[in-house]
Amino acid sequence: MELRAHIPPGPLAQKWDNHRFASGLVSPANRRKFKIIVVGTGLAGASAAATLAEQGYQVSAFCIQDSPRRAHSIAAQGGINAAKNYQNDGDSVLRLFHDTIKGGDFRSREANVYRLAQISNGIIDQCVAQGVPFAREYGGTLANRSFGGAQVSRTFYARGQTGQQLLFGAYGALSRQIKTGRLTMMTRREMLELVVIDGCARGIVTRNLINGDLENHPADAVILATGGYGNAYFLSTNARASNATAILRAWKAGAGFANPCFVQIHPTCIPAQGTYQSKLTLMSESLRNDGRIWIPKIVGDRRDPASIPENERDYYLEEKYPRFGNLVPQDVASRNTKEHCDAGKGVGETGLGVYLDFSSAIERDGAAVILKKYGNLLQMYEKITTRDPLQEPMMIAPAVHYTMGGMWVDYNLMTTIPGLFAIGECNFSDHGANRLGASALMQGLADGYFIIGTSIAHYLSTTPLDYVTPQHVGFLEAQMKCHDRTQRLLHNNNRITGKKVTVDTIHRELGRLLWEHCGITRNRIGLEQALTRLPDLREAFWSQVCVPGTGNELNQSLERAGRVADFLECAEIMVRDALTRVESCGCHLREESRTAEHEAKRDDDHYAHVSVWEYRGEEEPPIMHKEPLLFENINLSQRSYT
């Protein structure tokens, strides 16, 4: 596997310009001759599909839901960053670049991140023109708020529904292209196979989720915008249908999987209430601006929080990190919380939470001020838990939220398979080992609106491609694989004897295993244990899992089973990657790599690289390749918050 990042020459600020000038073009009249497939219709997918159709290509977009408007980008609450410097507080493209690289703990590419910062401003212009109702100042100009990891106010927002509003903007653009006939929207379709012919990505096989038909879709280029793999942990803030199937198929077809172990764990989610829990709900991290995190000092103290006196409370973040207090970065907050819960100091029925207490802020500013700042979040919390955070402390817990790892892509966002591109969360490119708040929306839209068009034109203008039909042997073989797999998933159903388990039972177990050994803190022994237990779990899955119904109808159990089978394989790459990265960086702490103060210690001498995993067949373990990361414009510094 050859990893050529194709970083353009020239000074950092000129690279994107140089690249666009050096890239090939397809003339407007010729674009209609090319067919592009976009898988996924979140911010990245919808914006890419709409933009390419506007440019004149024939585009087919696919989504798993009943409408492209439902992709999980919709759930993003906080906002979207841009280097507009509207607040005149010292922001600039260079500063956004700097913050993003540093926030990612120096594990992303300089050139990609700089381009992201350059493009950020155009995204806001585009979204405003589409009618996205961003928050405004009284004078009518756009409002901003501040977010973690930055000392400037550069986040644009639409109440707590920024993702929803940006997605509706992109969905509008997509809908407009559907009306023109240049864009074909295929809903309730799941990509089950990538078709590679003569070394190039030439289409996909999908399952029609309504009638079970396997459908062949040839194209000249395939763009994956299928999001992250956080649902491997079973419990996460992801939507239930979010899955890793598309990227896993691409991986098996020859695309490199970069930094699979980089998973973001968000510190402020509502704790799981019981074993039946199906997902976790995020509470915006902005709450830590006014809430104080604490636990009872005495292990097993079950008293009502109000009756625990001040001197018996452990404000562990304020104590340990006096400079930053409750506003330490997400990873530090999550890690300390988990350590205390593991030691039995957690609160709530399940012992998995800690208190986030607004009483000091209420005493200082009054309840009205707190309610105005966080009203919708406090209501949402009350709806789920029936507890009023103004009367008693909230309970929060860390939860899997975002995956920085994903398909390895070059500067063009092309994977190691020519003609296969990956955009948005499903690539690895911009967030390094940790993503800053309000940066995911920025990256998804940058990739879709402003980058992928250049890449597609360059690829199509420089690559000779033969015409392929849906009957090409490559498609027939891929379809056969899908068919066999479906039959394999269904075969236990007819078995009369032996143990039967449901898909969710195995998935929960996988989640627990990953959370325990490949979560916030990791060590060699735990990871090796996980690696030996995964094949057993896979074996249990294939021999015991019970999937009712047939393959030629709407069958949600079958859909879930297919996804969990892929999570089981995805988990193995994650664990293998975590095992080889013997350094603490970004979101995770490797216990073998700590400073004298027991804090995370990054190891730039040995790990300043992207780990890229190559699939070598069912019998062989995958191998890892390295793309070294060079920092020419930024000084590598160790993070310290104590």
Binding site: S47, T51, Q65, D66, S67, P68, R69, R70, A71, H72, I74, A75, K84, Y86, G122, I124, D125, Q126, V128, A129, G131, P133, F134, A135, R136, E137, Y138, G139, G140, T141, L142, A158, Q165, Y171, G172, A173, S175, R176, I178, T187, A239, R240, A241, Q273, G274, Y276, Q277, S278, K279, T281, K383, Y449, F450, T502, C546, P548, E553, L554, Q556, S557
Partner: protein, 251 residues
């Protein structure tokens, strides 16, 4: 942990062409902290292990924003709690011994695909008719050249909060999609960016709505009552004004 036992009468239908009917299930030991969909998960786990086919239902984000979930619970879209999607409805709002009748959102324009799963693509086609501002990527002016008074932006945001779940249609005695359509027309007609296409948009979207077989508003306000995002019927009034001025005043 508190638990309840329920009797569930659920609409079962194999596919669009097959006839459907209610099946009765008894479900015990439901934790009151569960969400409604987690209760259905539990039922489905039991059915699966008993060798029966689980109940198909749509859902995705499970935090009330994607608009994918929804069913009629005892005749009310998304169940008895106001401003709440089905995924955010918790079992603590029910009592042990209750019987719940669960059926799909019903409307001529929403054919049932299986059990509680329906086809709402008619709503997408209304948007495709004109529910957007026609601007190509890259052609946008500097964002702050368009000043929008904060109250106007807030009003547009109230309308834009619609999640497209279809509860309004299912609750309307006329099967109207006017709250849905009105919300989008309203949002875009309030904003300066939406002015150039204002008339064509109103005409095209209303025409698409009629073509899909949705009914008309007769001010029952059922839609507003069940809307999980509290979208006001004022947006229907605004849509009607937009439509009337576009059709009578023309150019």
């Amino acid at each position: 942990m508190q638990t309840i036992d329920l009797t569930l009468q659920i609409w079962r239908q194999k596919n669009s062409d097959a006839p459907g009917d209610f099946e009765t299930y008894t479900l015990k030991n439901i934790s009151t902290a569960m969400s409604f969909l987690e209760m259905l998960d539990l039922l489905n786990e039991n059915l699966t292990l008993q060798g029966q086919e689980p109940v198909a239902f749509d859902h995705d984000c499970r935090e009330g924003i994607c608009g994918m979930c929804g069913a009629m619970v005892n005749g009310i879209a998304h169940g008895p709690q106001s401003e709440t999607t089905l995924c955010q409805l918790h079992m603590r709002h029910f009592n042990s011994g209750d019987t719940l009748v669960i059926e799909p959102f019903r409307s001529r324009a929403f054919p049932v695909k299986r059990d509680l799963v329906i086809d709402r693509s008619a709503l997408d086609r209304i948007i495709q008719a004109g529910g957007y501002i026609s601007i190509n990527t890259g052609g946008a002016p500097e964002a702050n050249t368009i000043a929008i008074p904060s109250p106007t932006a807030e009003l547009a945001m109230d309308a834009a909060a619609c999640i497209g779940c279809g509860a309004c249609v299912a609750s309307c005695p006329n099967g109207a999609a006017m709250l849905f359509t009105g919300a989008r027309i309203s949002q875009l007609s309030l904003l300066p960016q939406g002015q150039p296409e204002r008339k064509e948009r109103a005409l095209a979207m209303v025409m698409a709505m009629d073509k899909e077989g949705f009914g008309n508003c007769s001010n029952e306000r059922e839609c507003e009552a069940v809307c999980p995002k509290a979208i006001s019927i004022r947006h229907i009034a605004r849509m009607n004004r937009e439509y009337l001025s576009a059709s009578f005043l023309g150019e």
